[in-house]
């Protein structure tokens, strides 16, 4: 059954009609057209669908859309300001931390949640924060380097 769902995504308010069994991921991608957030495993093990819900890194594939009703959602599309990339995105480009790119939106959101909470993390803290984001290209070293560089303003 379709019901009205109100979400704030990247600072913009949306109201959509959605089936009660939709996940937040489906609403973001299919109803709002925000396809930056990816579906990997769909079961919570890969982290490709990571978004921030009220500032906390969460898995959109396991979040019922209506459980996010009235919440602040931030997706990868919300990071760049006026066409200027977020420092983590910028570092990812400069350090070559992107290969096929599928895991990138997910780990960048995990890294953003980390840096919002802890602006100067240790390497171990970075590794823990992104441990839930699998990269099948296995480019982890450059991912960790780019998050550390972003945190140090490099």
């Amino acid at each position: 059954m379709k019901k009205a769902l109100a979400l704030t995504v990247n600072g913009e308010e949306y109201e959509v009609l959605a089936d009660t069994h939709r996940t937040l991921l489906e609403v973001l991608r299919d109803s709002l057209g925000l396809t930056g957030t990816k579906e990997g495993c769909g079961l919570g093990a890969c982290g490709a669908c990571t978004v921030l819900i009220d500032g906390k890194a969460s898995l959109a594939c396991l979040t019922l859309a209506f459980a996010a009703h009235g919440k602040q959602v931030t997706t990868i599309e919300g990071l760049a300001v006026d066409g200027k990339l977020h420092p983590i995105q910028d570092a990812a480009v400069r350090f070559g931390a992107i290969q096929c790119g599928f895991c990138t939106p997910g780990w960048i959101m995990s890294a953003k949640a980390l840096l919002d909470e802890n602006p100067k993390p240790s390497e171990h803290q970075v590794k823990t924060a992104i441990a839930g984001n699998l990269c099948r290209c296995t480019g982890y070293v450059k991912i960790i380097e780019s998050v550390l560089a972003a945190s140090q303003g490099k």
Binding site: D19, H21, T23, C41, L43, G47, A57, A67, A131
Partner: protein
């Protein structure tokens, strides 16, 4: 992977939630990290889910010397490990919560939900397509176990990380229902039946977790065997609580996870070490009792049952070392 068509209900109070749960073919959900994959796999098929997250005043963690630690049902695993009092007094809870899945799952998943984690099995936690190659197992509503052949029961593995840690700390759970509230020791939450591991009636839910105040000179630790340092469920997990008296052990409690269809307290180990100095030699009997108590079967990926059983000794020792370090103030 799509969810089946289900309705979504959002009660505002515990009473409303229990009334909805009593109403029939519905299941409660909080973080959703355990239930939603099961819905996607079509191993659970309610007509509606009851989201508990909108219930007010259930997200708290408080501590007092008189009442001990009280954890509301909606406190997340991340709230638990970031709580300063928990960090100081109950490191086993921090170690257990931090070893659940990933940061995202800890943000979403609740402590109470982790205690109520469904049992898991290689033949059960699979898509309906995958499972369609075999007859349905006991847990999926059938009449066979694919793991223990000719068994008359389900052997699915209890895989929660926080339960053994709460168990050795002597925790109880407050259970709310449409008839009222009751407080039971944590081990009474578990039926031991792999098919229906959580001993709650349809209209009942865990509303609070209660942990006694920390005893003097005591400490706790939790550690688990797994393939990767994140994401994985335990292949074997051990929690130990220990109380020292000068240079000797006064009391010790040991519990295991991923060892059976319920978290297991290894009873009666205190006598073997009480009054003796803490050492691996003096811990040997407790390690051996844990080894004997663990009954892993071949239903999870990552380690053979004999290996996991042997690891019960090793992880009890490691957890005990962590517990003693806290008790000694290190």
């Amino acid at each position: 992977m799509k969810l089946p068509r289900i309705d979504y209900l959002e009660p505002q109070t515990v009473g409303e939630a229990c009334a909805l749960l009593a109403g029939g073919d519905v299941l409660p959900v909080a973080g959703g990290t355990d239930l939603v994959p099961s819905l996607k796999h079509r191993v659970k098929a309610p007509t509606a889910v009851v989201n508990l997250k909108a219930i007010r005043d259930l997200n708290y963690i408080t501590y007092s010397e008189k009442e001990g630690l009280r954890i509301g049902a909606l406190a997340s695993l991340r709230d638990l490990q970031n709580n300063a009092v928990v960090q100081e007094k109950y490191p086993a809870l921090v170690q257990a919560a931090a070893s659940v899945g990933t940061v995202q799952l800890q943000n979403m998943g609740t402590v109470a939900g982790n205690l109520c984690l469904d049992t898991r099995c290689y033949y059960y936690n699979q898509s309906s397509f995958w499972r369609s190659a075999r007859p349905a197992c006991y847990k999926a509503g059938g009449e066979v176990c694919h793991v223990v052949k000719r068994s008359d029961k389900c052997w699915a593995c209890y895989s929660g990380d926080t339960a053994p840690a709460f168990m050795v700390l002597g925790a109880s759970v407050k259970i709310a229902s449409s008839k009222g509230e009751r407080v039971v020791p944590l081990d009474k939450l578990y039926s031991g039946d792999g098919k229906k591991p959580i001993a709650l009636a349809a209209d009942e839910l865990v509303s609070e977790i209660q942990v006694p105040a920390l005893a003097a000179n005591s400490g706790s630790g939790y550690t688990k065997l797994r393939i990767r340092k994140a994401i994985d469920f335990p292949l074997m997990g051990a929690a130990v609580w220990v109380q020292l008296n000068g240079g000797t052990v006064k009391d010790i409690r040991v519990a295991l996870t991923a060892a059976d269809s319920a978290p297991v307290e290894v009873a009666g180990v205190a006598a073997s070490i009480a009054g003796k100095a803490y050492s691996e030699e003096n811990l040997a009997e407790a390690m051996e009792a844990s080894y004997k108590k663990a009954r892993p079967v071949d239903n999870v990926i990552g380690g053979s049952p004999p290996y996991r059983k042997r690891m019960a000794r090793v992880f009890v020792k490691r957890a005990a070392n962590l517990a003693v370090a806290q008790a000694e103030g290190r």
